[in-house]
Symmetry: C2
Subunit: 465 residues, 2 copies
C-alpha cells in the first residue's frame, strides 16, 4: 500500500505523560476565560504532520480522533500549505463576505465545481453555512417550508398566518414535527438539539420542541452471528417510525438520521433498514434528511455513506460539515424554498474554508483516498476483530465502514482506562457511546498506522491487568 | 481629518448600470445551484479597496452597506494582506481545529489578548462560535442553564430530569421563556428565530417557541422635538416588559435586545430605557442579553454600543459577530455553566477568523478608528439632518450613533427607488425596516465619504422628480 503522506513520523514518540506540564500550564491560563476542561492537549500546529499530532510537550501521537473527525488529509498537508502560501487564496484573504449579497465571482466557480461536483446523486441545490448544527437547522427549515406548503395545498400564506407568525403562533406550524433516533447527535443549537438524543448533559435545562424519538436498531456484530436478532431490532425500529408518522397525523415534516451513529456509540443499521425508511417517508410525505456531518467525505469508504444503501430515490436533504471545514447541505430542488431569503443568513458559510475544501477534494481524488480508505478500513476492522478474538474478556463488537470503525470494551471505566493508557503510549483515540473506542482517522490513514494503533491498544489493555 | 486608507479611489466611478451584464451572467450560472436572487453584484475581491467596492463590471461604488455591516477596516486593508502573506497566520493555515479538544497554544494568546481585551466591563468569560445566530443560541442556553439552576435552588438534576430530558420533556424546562422586541433580529436558527421578530418571511412555516414579544419604544427624531412622546413610548414598552415578566411567573430566563434595532428600521431607545430594563431584569431574576452582533466593534462610536447607557450593573451576556469575522459571546462568570460540555460544539469558532479579528483590533486601536467614527458619525447625522431640512417632503428622522445611522424616506417604494438610483450613481447602500436608508460603513469612513454619499443620495432623490 502506498504512503499518502511522505515524510511523516515513523511512529508515535512520547516524552511526557499526556496531558503534560506544558499543556497544564496553558490550561491554567486558558481556564481563566474559557472552559478548558475538555482539552486533551494543546497541539503544536506547525510540527504536527500527517497522521501524527505533536503536542506542546513535544509528544508525537498517532491521531485516530482527528479533532472529532474533522481532519481530512492529515496535518499540514503540502497541498494546503502551498495553497495558503501561493496567491491561490488571494481573492478571499482580507475580509469575510456576505455571500448572499456581494460574493466574489470565484464563489460561483466553487459552487459549480467542488461543491456541486460532490453533490449526492439526485441533488441539484447546495447551501453553505459554517457548522454542522447550522446545516441541520437549515435542513429542518427546508423540510418545514416544504411540508407546510404541501399542507396548504401549494397555496401562499393567509393574512392570519402573516400576523400570527410574528407572535410565534402561525396556525398549524408549531405542531410540525421531526422524528429522530435515540442516540442521535445532530448539533446543539435549540432546533438541532431538539432532534439530538445523545446524552442528557447535552440537553438538560434547554427548552426543546415536542418531537418524537424512536429507537435506533443498533446492529450487533459480527453481523452473521446476530442476523436474526438484528433483523428483529430493525423491524421494531421501523414499526416505531411508522407509529410516529401515523400518530403525527400529517404533522411530521421530516425524519433525520445519521448513516452510522457517531457520538451515539458507532451504531450501524443495514442498507435494507435505510431503504425501508426511505419508503416509509415517501408514503407519509415527510422529508428524509440524512445527516452526514460525521460520515461525509469518504471516511466510510464511499464519498457519502448513504451511497452504500442502494436507494431507489435519494435522500431529500443531506447535511455535512467537519472534514469539509465548513458546513452545508445538498437538496433535491423541490426542497429548496420558492421565495428568496427563506434559508439565508449574513455569512452563508465562509469562502476561505470552502476554498480549502476544494484543495482537499482535489487531493482526495488525485490520491484515490476513498478507495484507499475502503482498503485500510478492511484491514482495520479485521485487526479489531483479531483483538476481540485474542482478548474476548475485554473487547467485542468490532465494526466499521471504511475507517469509520469502533470496538466495544467490557464496560465504561475499563474503556476510559484503556484510552488513557493508550494515550500514554502515543495513541490519541476517543470514546463513542458508553463503552466503545472510536476511530475517526484522516483519509491518509494506512496499513502501518492500523498496525501501530492496534499495537498500542493491545499494549494498553495488557497494561491494565 | 486624516485619511485612514491612503490610496483608495478618489470617488465612485460607474461604467454600467448595477447589476451589470457581467453580474447577470454570473447570476445565471449561480442560480442553477444556489438562490442568487439576493445578490446585489459580484464583487472583485482583489480590486476593491478601502470604502470602495469594485464589481465584476468594473464599477467602483462607495460602500456604506458593508456586507450587512461586516467590513470593519475596509477592503484589502494592508495590515490584513500583510498578515496573510507573512508567516503570522502560519500556525492556523492547514486545518480547522476543534478548539475544545486540541487547540494550538496560540489560541490561548488570542483568548487572553484580543478576545478578553475587548470584553465588556464586568465580563470575565468568552465563548467563540462562527456566526451571530450561534452566538445568540449559546447566550440563550447560558441563560436557560442559569435560570433552571436557580429555580432548583442550586440543586443538581433529578433522576426524572435525566430520563425525561431525552424525550424533550424535562419537567419545567419547556416553560422557560425569552422576551424579545417587535422588530428585533437575532438570527435564523430555530432558537434565535423564536426571539426574532423582524419580518414574516424570516419566520413563516418554521416552528417557534411560545415566547412573549413586547413593543420596542422606537424613538422619534430629532429627540428634542419629540421628548414627551418618546418618554411615553418607552414607558409603555417597559410596562409591557414588566407584564411579561410578571405573567411569566418566574419562567422568564432572559430578555434579549439590540442596542439599536438594525434590520428592524434603525430604531433607537434612550440610555434611561436600557437602565430601566436592567433594573427590571435584576428584580425578576432574568438574564439581560444585549445582542451587539451588528453594533459591536465601534460602529456606534464606542466599542460596545451599551457603553453609552451608563449601566450600574453590566449586561449578563453580550453577543457579537459581523465585524469580528466570527461570532462569540462574553459573559459574567455566574452565567457560565458549571459543568463541562454544556456550551460546546465541534469547532467552537474558527481561529483563522479570530486571528484576523486580532489584526483588525490592532488597526482600530492604532489608528484611533473609534474616536474617528464618533466624529465622522456626527458629520453624517448632521448631513442627513440637512438633507431632511432641504427635502422635507422626502426625508425625515435623521438619526445615528457613530456612523450606525439612518434616515427615513416618505414611503417604501420611494425608498427603494432612491436606493436604486443612488446605486446607479455609485453608492451601495441598503434599506432598514420599511422605509429607512441605513448606513453601515467601515470604521475608515471619513468626512469626504460622508459628503460623497450624501451628494449621491440627494442627486438620486432629485432624479426621481
Amino acid at each position: 500500500m502506498t504512503e499518502h503522506f511522505p515524510g511523516e513520523p515513523k511512529s508515535a514518540h512520547m516524552l511526557t505523560r499526556v496531558p503534560g506540564p506544558a499543556t497544564e500550564a496553558l490550561r491554567a491560563r486558558h481556564n481563566r476565560f474559557q472552559d478548558a476542561r475538555s482539552v486533551h492537549y494543546y497541539q503544536d500546529a506547525r510540527k504536527s504532520l500527517g497522521n501524527y499530532a505533536v503536542d506542546v510537550d513535544g509528544n508525537t501521537l498517532l491521531d485516530v480522533y482527528g479533532h472529532i473527525a474533522c481532519v481530512p488529509i492529515g496535518y499540514n498537508h503540502p497541498a494546503l500549505l502551498e495553497a495558503f502560501r501561493s496567491e491561490r487564496f488571494a481573492w478571499l484573504a482580507a475580509w469575510r463576505p456576505a455571500l448572499g449579497v456581494a460574493p466574489p465571482p470565484e464563489w460561483v466557480d466553487l459552487v459549480e465545481g467542488p461543491l456541486m461536483g460532490c453533490a449526492p446523486q439526485g441533488h441539484d441545490r447546495v447551501m453553505t453555512v459554517t457548522t454542522g448544527a447550522e446545516a441541520v437547522e437549515n435542513a429542518l427549515k427546508a423540510a418545514f417550508a416544504w411540508k407546510a406548503r404541501r399542507l396548504r395545498g401549494g397555496a401562499s400564506w393567509t393574512a392570519e398566518d402573516l400576523q400570527l407568525v410574528m407572535q410565534n403562533r402561525q396556525p398549524g406550524v408549531n405542531a410540525l414535527k421531526v422524528i429522530s433516533f435515540e442516540g442521535g447527535l445532530h448539533g446543539r443549537t435549540l432546533g438541532a438539539l431538539s432532534a439530538t438524543r445523545s446524552k442528557a448533559i447535552h440537553k438538560l435545562d434547554f427548552p426543546a420542541f415536542d418531537w418524537p424519538v424512536v429507537p435506533f436498531p443498533a446492529n450487533r456484530f459480527p453481523l452473521d452471528a446476530h442476523a436474526a436478532e438484528n433483523l428483529e431490532a430493525e423491524a421494531r425500529s421501523l414499526e416505531a417510525v411508522e407509529r410516529a408518522l401515523r400518530e403525527g397525523g400529517g404533522t411530521v415534516a421530516a425524519l433525520i438520521v445519521e448513516p452510522i451513529q457517531g457520538e451515539g456509540g458507532d451504531r450501524h443499521a443495514s442498507p435494507a433498514f435505510f431503504r425501508a425508511l426511505r419508503r416509509l417517508l415517501t408514503d407519509y410525505e415527510a422529508a428524509f434528511i440524512v445527516d452526514e456531518v460525521q460520515t461525509g467525505l469518504g471516511a466510510t469508504g464511499t464519498f457519502w455513506a448513504h451511497e452504500q444503501w442502494g436507494l431507489d430515490t435519494p435522500p431529500d436533504v443531506v447535511t455535512w460539515s467537519k472534514k469539509f471545514q465548513l458546513g452545508g447541505l445538498h437538496l433535491r430542488s423541490e426542497f429548496a424554498p420558492q421565495e428568496a431569503f427563506r434559508l439565508f443568513n449574513t455569512f452563508l458559510g465562509d469562502p476561505l474554508r470552502a476554498a480549502q475544501a476544494e484543495v482537499i477534494l482535489e487531493v482526495v481524488a488525485r490520491d484515490g483516498l476513498i478507495a484507499h480508505t475502503r482498503a485500510t478500513g478492511e484491514l482495520l476492522v479485521a485487526a479489531l476483530s483479531g483483538l476481540c478474538d485474542r482478548m474476548p474478556q475485554l473487547f467485542s463488537g468490532a465494526r466499521g465502514a471504511g475507517t469509520f470503525a469502533a470496538v466495544d470494551v467490557r464496560d465504561a471505566p475499563t474503556r476510559d482506562r484503556i484510552l488513557d493508557a493508550a494515550r500514554q503510549l502515543g495513541l490519541e483515540a476517543g470514546g463513542s457511546g458508553d463503552r466503545s473506542i472510536r476511530f475517526r482517522p484522516a483519509l491518509i490513514f494506512g496499513a502501518r498506522h492500523v498496525n501501530e494503533a492496534l499495537d498500542r491498544i493491545e499494549a494498553a489493555a495488557r497494561s491494565l491487568s
